[in-house]
Symmetry: C2
Subunit: 147 residues, 2 copies
DNA sequence: TTTGACCTGTGAGTTGCTCACAGGTTTTAG
DNA sequence: CTAAAACCTGTGAGCAACTCACAGGTCAAA
């Protein structure tokens, strides 16, 4: 299989295939005649796996180490499970955050709808956003520790 | 106010202040004595506004145009409302996607827990992920149109 | 045989910062 | 008063995970 073939088979951009190849997730062989990359069924499985893992929120380095461990005939599963559980917790947190955000946006829109189109106040910028109370959104990664 | 002052007042990294300044969101004046940037209360309001808008998912160019419209004494509200409504729809979609993801992850973990630690199968990589059914995750932005 | 569709590697663009660097300034401590 | 620490300046690079553009080589069909 050449680049376009495997890309099509996995439903990704050929450039992604090339990118994954130079990142070491795929190990194609070379056709010495024309210097083209040759991918096999195993590469395709790796690629599909990589895409699925990415959809689950694994980072490329994570995917690479899972794949490499599998190559060394170590089962990557305990490691995968660990990352997987970490990722699940993240997903839960993201959901909670987005739900809060949604509620706040909806109530803001509600208030908004009761106002004529271009009004709020004069020439200060929209107060709804300006007075947005963002304490609820301050999470560990946003916090900055300045004395 | 100097860079560090306004940064502290808004709870952001001084480099973010510099970045926003060169991106045209903030318009400080210059102290001709030492060439330092001087921010005033209005800059602080703009900065705070920008951060809140960013938390709501507005892009920097969006924030910039809201701010610039406000400077021209046009009320940016109709435009803001439009972007805001678009953003709310996105948030809803993100929530739905993440909730699906969570359910699938949880059920995968459930199956996983019934298996001994390093098992699935031999030396093929974890089948749970490998056989992950990703049709449910294919959304407009992921889809690739290959003939 | 020539066109068009593929292949190659490399380098840059995307977003929103963050950090590093090198040099100038101001504040503070001794 | 001076020297060190802590600030300021602009610019340029780095992050993630691709995507795209470029220049040149290769191969299939008309």
């Amino acid at each position: 299989m050449k680049v376009k073939d495997i890309a099509q088979a996995a439903g990704v951009n050929p450039d992604t295939v090339r990118f994954y190849t130079r990142e070491g997730l795929l190990n194609p062989t070379r056709n010495p005649d024309n210097n083209y990359q040759q991918y096999d069924a195993d590469d395709l499985r790796r690629l599909r796996f990589a895409r699925k893992a990415r959809q689950l929120g694994f980072s490329l380095p994570e995917v690479r180490s899972i794949l490499n461990q599998a190559d060394d005939h170590h089962s990557p599963c305990p490691m995968v499970r660990e990352v997987f559980e970490k990722r699940l917790a993240e997903v839960e947190r993201e959901i909670a955050e987005l739900q809060q955000l949604r509620e706040r946006m909806k109530s803001a829109l509600g208030i908004w709808r009761e106002m004529p189109d271009g009004t709020p106040d004069g020439h200060t910028i929209c107060r709804l956003i300006e007075h947005w109370d963002d304490t609820a959104l301050a999470t560990s990664e946003e916090e900055q520790a300045y004395d």
